[in-house]
Point group: C2
Chain length 218, copies 2
């Protein structure tokens, strides 16, 4: 398990992404009743080097046994604790336009323990309506409802023009983790973790590689 | 402008992301008729250091004038050439479930020149139906239609279980750039650029930070 007390132990963003990948691979292997996996096999599945896999896992105190590899269930459990996915997280979706609405139905969230408990919109035609089993709440009730339902993570899927205003309200309600889909850089206090997903920037990465006929450097 | 002949000049993924941010900021400034911008102001807007901004831009041969800053329109034009967004790209969407369907309506794509020309599905109830102005084509017609419509980028929004099979067909049709939303690591040949967007991994990044009460290292 990661030593939480060790503030100097740095985990990079790319390490977390790899842990998420290992976690998925191990979940699948567990379902297939595979008991152990070698760093070589895990590396092959995730298109990494065995050295990288061993480095990542030794970092968390997990060591494979020579000739046997890593114990699948135990390693999966360890990684789930590090990632915080060994529990359920209460999530709220703010904005049920095209993207928000699609994400409410995105099965992967629930599968990984991210449960959308509340959905908000400011559109009077949507408020009160049933949306994939959830009633759309009035965004003016947001602060109170976020607290009452112990929401810990907010997904923002609102137009860019109102996103800063809404994120300020989300922060004021005490939320510390926000996943933003509005195509804009939002300002949050240092104790709030914000991730911005910009899907057109992903396409620009591809148009860059097509234009320059090469992927960017690592 | 980036020297395309210089294969040794490495541009990192994070540099491309920053260029996308500068491009958006400059587009907005241009609309507001602002003629120049200092590295300091651009840095403040994007929450970067002025030194980082100057470094990124000098890398592409752009130098601000002391006291005046960078010329907004010219810099925007240069960055658009580097990113390949100074032109239109023909895009196809494969899969019109929740996510695919939402992305077809995602206005940012079109705004940045990524035009969805074709949409595919294998569901007989969807094929032939009008979906936000586009007719859903039969996925069995994909190879021929991708070629006929000169599609350069494919967005995959299909279930994980069929994603590798479909990406193989997309690659066989000659497509070199793919944005994948299926939550799975896909295999493509080295000359094909693949980006995988995994939205639940973004939430895992947040659950990691909430669990460990710190963001990952840079």
């Amino acid at each position: 398990m990661v030593k939480k007390s060790d503030g100097k132990r740095k985990i990079s963003e790319s390490t977390i992404k790899r842990l998420s990948l290992y976690y998925r691979a191990l979940s699948l292997l567990e379902k297939e009743n595979q008991e152990t996996i070698s760093s070589k096999e895990l590396a092959r599945r995730e298109k990494l080097t065995p050295a990288q896999v061993r480095k990542d896992l030794s970092f968390f105190g997990s060591f494979g046994t020579r000739g046997l590899g890593y114990p699948v269930s135990e390693l999966k459990q360890q990684i789930s604790e590090i990632l915080g996915v060994n529990r359920v997280w209460n999530v709220a979706m703010v904005g049920v336009g095209n993207i928000g609405s699609a994400l409410v139905s995105y099965k992967e969230f629930q599968k990984q323990g991210f449960i959308i408990k509340l959905i908000f919109d400011n559109d009077q035609r949507k408020i009160g309506s049933n949306h994939k089993g959830l009633i759309v709440s009035d965004i003016r009730e947001m602060a109170r409802l976020l607290r009452e339902h112990h929401i810990e993570i907010v997904i923002l899927a609102v137009p860019a023009i109102v996103a800063q205003y809404i994120v300020d309200e989300v922060v004021a309600a005490g939320i510390k983790a926000i996943l933003n889909f509005a195509p804009i850089n939002l300002q949050v206090p240092p104790d709030v973790y914000l991730r911005t997903e910009n899907m057109s920037m992903e396409l620009e990465y591809l148009s860059f590689t097509l234009t320059n006929r090469r992927p960017p450097a690592e």
